[in-house]
């Protein structure tokens, strides 16, 4: 079974939940509830990043999501036409975001967690930029029911 679908929204934070719910529904029969949570969170974080940091909150720009449902994995690609993510953002490792001292309230992070969460929740994450577009590819493997 291989099928794919493309969805798109305007770069408006109010519309992200529509896409998230749609993609979650597509994964319902393939992934466990925990893995559906993981995919939904990763998708939301990725799109928020595109809208907030890529398009700087400007509406009217396009955000496309391609979902591929394969026999052994779900592949989600987020495609945008914003300036690419800076390399230093991509280089930071996912653990860094959450190694804070919980007794030092003033320094507990309020942001910068998105990419780290995506890396923790997906099995593969790859970011590619070309002249025409940026593409974040995220893969969640399907764990067969035992």
């Amino acid at each position: 079974m291989v099928s794919s679908i493309s969805l798109s929204i305007d770069s408006d934070l109010d519309k992200v939940s529509l896409l998230a719910r749609a993609v979650r529904a597509l994964c319902e029969d393939l992934l466990s509830p925990d893995d559906q949570d993981a995919v939904e969170l990763s998708l939301v974080e990725a799109i928020n990043n595109v809208i907030k940091h890529g398009y700087h909150g400007e509406r009217g720009k396009d955000v496309q999501v391609a979902v591929g449902l394969q026999a052994d994995q779900v592949v989600i690609e987020i495609i945008d036409h914003a300036p690419p993510m800076p390399p230093q953002v991509l280089d930071s490792t996912s653990e860094d975001a959450f190694t804070f001292d919980e007794t030092d309230i003033a320094n507990i992070p309020e942001g910068g967690m998105g990419l780290a969460l995506i890396r923790m929740n997906m099995d593969e994450v790859e970011y590619r930029s070309s002249e025409s577009e940026n593409r974040l590819r995220m893969v969640k493997r399907i764990v067969p029911l035992s």
Partner: protein, 111 residues
């Protein structure tokens, strides 16, 4: 998006939304800030109606905790599923006291 109830000098703030995401986080933070600036510093946040929080929503919670200052407390009640999982993943379960029920959270803060 919030409803409030004062119990034993503890303000119980119930989130009446299913999602606290990047589109809702600013309004959530504003409403919470108004509660805090009105003088409430023992707060239980009831998340039992919430089934999704993203990192923007979580950031807003952290911001409220900072606003409360050292004499304040912000406990979380009723976090389940994806919401509870997010607290664990981000290690924010070490920052916020997580309670299964509003009653147990109120009991702890009012003690």
């Amino acid at each position: 998006m919030l409803s409030t109830d004062l119990r034993d000098n503890v303000l119980v703030v119930r989130v009446e939304e299913k999602r606290i995401d990047a589109s809702k986080a600013p309004a959530f933070k504003d409403e919470m800030t108004r509660c805090i600036e009105a003088g409430q510093n023992q707060i239980v946040l009831d998340l039992s109606q919430v089934d999704f929080i993203d990192s923007s929503g979580l950031g807003a919670l952290v911001s409220c905790l900072k606003r409360l200052g050292p004499r304040g407390s912000l406990a979380v009640a009723g976090a389940t599923g994806a919401v509870s999982r997010l607290f664990t993943l981000t290690r924010m379960d070490r920052v916020f006291a997580l309670h299964q029920s509003v009653d147990s959270a109120v009991e702890q803060l009012s003690a």
